[in-house]
Assembly symmetry: D2
Homo-oligomer: 309 residues x 4
């Protein structure tokens, strides 16, 4: 073997090293902090370039290459980066978090140890109404008067759950059984390790406005405070082509194209044909899919053809 | 293409079809039931035999082949079987269950819908003490007098959590927020789909005596009521080579071999050398690893060399 | 437990049953055929609705619900469907195929059995040039004269590789070693089992024009002949929101919006600012990312602002 | 948040750093080298101890804890370690390697670049016969005379495949098509990243004597040269409880126990009952499962009861 090998040094990202171990606070008693990592923007580029072999010139700049990888979903180079976080999260939120299956996880065990003596408490002004539009979402905030009452009752409840848990331990009940009625708001901790590709998928779903406020706050910290420092070129491309991107179905492309060319009637006909709007008693009404198309038109500052006089 | 193809019919297992949709009760209000499945003992054999190609004679019988696959960890043929279950489980148990990542899961959403109005309640006689030996386990049952008091307090607590949840919904709080203090004992439901290889791994860990009693009860039902009916040859081999198997470390093999040949002194020397026992103040004491070796010796009805006079 | 359970029957899709076991031919000696399956459009809907709980009315029609799931990437219900295929594929193509990691696979073993005596042969008219634009793609077809010569040499080579393999077996060489110089064009066979969500991901990447022609032919058969029959509503939504969709980056949305409103100058300024085009010696030139934006503009029948006079 | 956080520094393993980037040679032109890593024995212990919480004393020493985790298959702490290797491997071996699905992989692309101009060549003395016992294994080496002829023909074949590949490129054939008849012995390169738990699983299967010699050589280098340096405590426990362990089925425990107590007749009766041996024409013969039991008895220096006079 006469091959010449380039020198290898472990990946180091000084901007991330600066916040290593630093807890970024989330909610009233939660946090996220970086424990360790492997890789960087540079290792993504290196992994992508293994494809080109020795003889190939470095044609594209790193930024362009990373943007290319992101927009063509060449996802494997992003798996070459790995990050390990230490989290403190209410169990309620953890139930959603753990659904991301590609992670490596070690969670604090309430079989081995007493549960963490802290629960996520809601401020009086932070109670939210059920969204009228979205079966799974929140709407406005409730009035301070109602909020005060709700927070008071929350306190009563958390006091009782704490007291009952303590009584059980005192009576000698096994920890694995004593915990059975802990409230979902109880904090848990975990080491959570993941590659960057799967982390971006997590962020795409959990930074989305349709995600629950609480997990969105964690995701925002991970994205904007951590990934942005760790792999800035990837973060920029991800924001552009995922977080803030606009996806149009083939049918929507046809409708929007008609609208952009001022062909209102044709646009409406297409929308009716593809069931983006329904005619009922002479009125034109969009189902949910049509309403989402309206939002896309608005984002492009185009008129909604079926709403035009 | 002049190849001749054998006729294909979908896999059917009459003994499993008989219990399709039937809820097997677990705990006070939980269940497991089979929704659908793909594959059988026969498809495991078929998948294994794809290796042999056309010209190969059918040497081994199905049972022998399946036992061979199990004991040599040729696991891929077992992945050719898939089962879909409908479960009702307390969230506390579900937290452990969901750690098995290879499953496909759709869980009842308490963002979309009101939480299931049922919690796992503990009978007076079912309260367990903390195990004195095992930091994560349970020991004996507590006395009826103490149990009565604990169950009464459990009732009070579940009444309050139910009342507070109802108040929140009445006040218009979003479901995703109202649920935050539900007790971990609240039942949830899910469709849970998994291949047989990963299901056996789940059963191996969750039918183990060190698993928590409650999840052990679910696992036992899945194993003995469902997998045994679905793939009886696989189940037999799995019981023999996994559930009830005995694994000896290289060091334990050496020690046990010495014991089996009556070489007591040599066995003790080996145990000391490999730290299965420690000498302290002239006394020989086994740490946890040595105690587990004692259990293995007992299972083989062999004497414990360091306990012999 | 007084809960009432609906009757359960296994999922059956008559339109797919009709082609069960039927080999769909691909390339000169390859095929894909359905061996078994679990689930259907109906089970996707059922899995999605587990979220709504008992009390919820069936608001949305199945088609609308499936389109909603696809466009909001609620992917878990699609994992409730599973399909098992029997494939015959050249090893060269299989090398790409096997990179999809969520599948369950049993491949024909050339350690156990003699290699399949068939290689993928290229017709005289089927030799393709290197694409001038795309480092990893093909361009036009080569002339018949050149093709004839290439196919003749291919024959010579396949004859020699076949002869050498046979000589080795005759000399008593172990099959696992005799196979070492088989050409990548040698056919292999496998059972390949996958859930519908991951299958759609496979199809999205492998039906894409940038995928190699040969695997694209397999993917097209799986998509159009099999998935379309199996889950027609899902297939329609997938074509619309994935295969034929258009994704715009946030920056592209801004540029296209300007173009659609006739603001040519603003569009060019944005494009320059975001590096979709570069100014060099007074000329405006798009790098690859800008060229892809040009294609998007063309698809929407909009003018390319930097190309306008 | 008044919690006090311990200082965090990235994991560093000096004994592994010493060989960072160093190619460990395998076969005639292959290698394995470490590119980067995350974690160490210490982070496994740290991850396991997250379970114990603040109040728990450090009872067990690191070595004991790691041995406990290995033998009770508490596998998640080992997933907290990740390693990234650079490999050069013949495609034939890579076909087996890539079946381990939990890895992250970037392989050298023969679509983008010309294939690596190197093939795995077999020395005259290295040709192996088909094993007479094991359908998938090798036996003795072939004679020098035969080996010479086989290696000469291997050369002829590799010369022709090289020439044809070069001709195709010269004729302008697309790289993705030109490669179709490359021999499986062609070297490929890849970055391969994996967590320690899954790496141990890879090593368990690929260091096993039943694995093909070539991949066993790679696995041995990864295990003995790399993992042993990286996580020495884990490596020792893994050798003891996995690589060199002995697993006995429940039925084998019963038979061996009888043998160890000199109850020959009972042992034979059990073996017959459980089909470890078969009686045929007055003779007792073990099928494969029984032969494997014979090996286990030999390892424990115990007599084979059905072979005794």
């Amino acid at each position: 073997m006469t091959q010449i090998f380039e020198k290898i040094t472990r990946s180091v990202v000084p901007s991330l090293d600066k916040v290593l171990g630093k807890p970024f606070a989330v909610l009233d008693d939660g946090f996220v902090r970086v424990v360790d990592y492997l890789g960087s923007d540079a290792s993504i580029v290196q992994a992508a370039r293994v494809s080109y072999g020795k003889g190939t010139k470095k044609i594209s700049q790193d930024r362009q290459l990373i943007r290319y990888l992101i927009r063509h979903r060449h996802t494997t180079p992003f798996e070459m980066c790995e990050i390990k976080l230490h989290l403190r999260v209410p169990m309620d939120i953890w139930r959603q978090w753990i659904r991301h299956r590609t992670a490596n996880v070690n969670e604090y065990s309430t079989r081995y140890s007493e549960a963490i003596d802290s629960s996520h408490r809601t401020e009086q002004s932070a109670w939210r109404t059920q969204s009228p539009h979205n079966r799974q979402g929140s709407g406005e905030y409730l009035s301070p008067a109602i909020g005060r009452r709700l927070s008071r009752r929350e306190s009563e409840l958390l006091n009782l759950t704490g007291a009952v848990y303590a009584e059980r331990l005192l009576a000698g009940v096994a920890r694995e059984q004593a915990r059975k009625d802990l409230p979902l708001s109880t904090y848990t901790e975990a080491y959570w390790k993941m590659d960057l590709h799967n982390l971006m998928h997590f962020l795409e779903l959990r930074m989305d406005p349709s995600a629950q406020l609480e997990i969105r706050q964690y995701a925002a910290v991970i994205g904007r405070e951590i990934v942005r420092r760790w792999c800035p070129l990837t973060w920029e491309a991800f924001e552009d082509y995922s977080l803030d991107a606009l996806t149009l179905s083939a049918k929507e492309v046809a409708i929007i194209t008609a609208v952009a060319h001022g062909k209102r009637k044709e646009a409406v006909q297409l929308a009716v044909k593809h069931e983006y709007v329904m005619e009922k008693h002479g009125e034109i009404k969009p189902p949910l899919e049509g309403k989402e198309l309206e939002e896309k038109l608005e984002r492009m500052e185009l008129p909604i053809p079926w709403a035009m006089k």
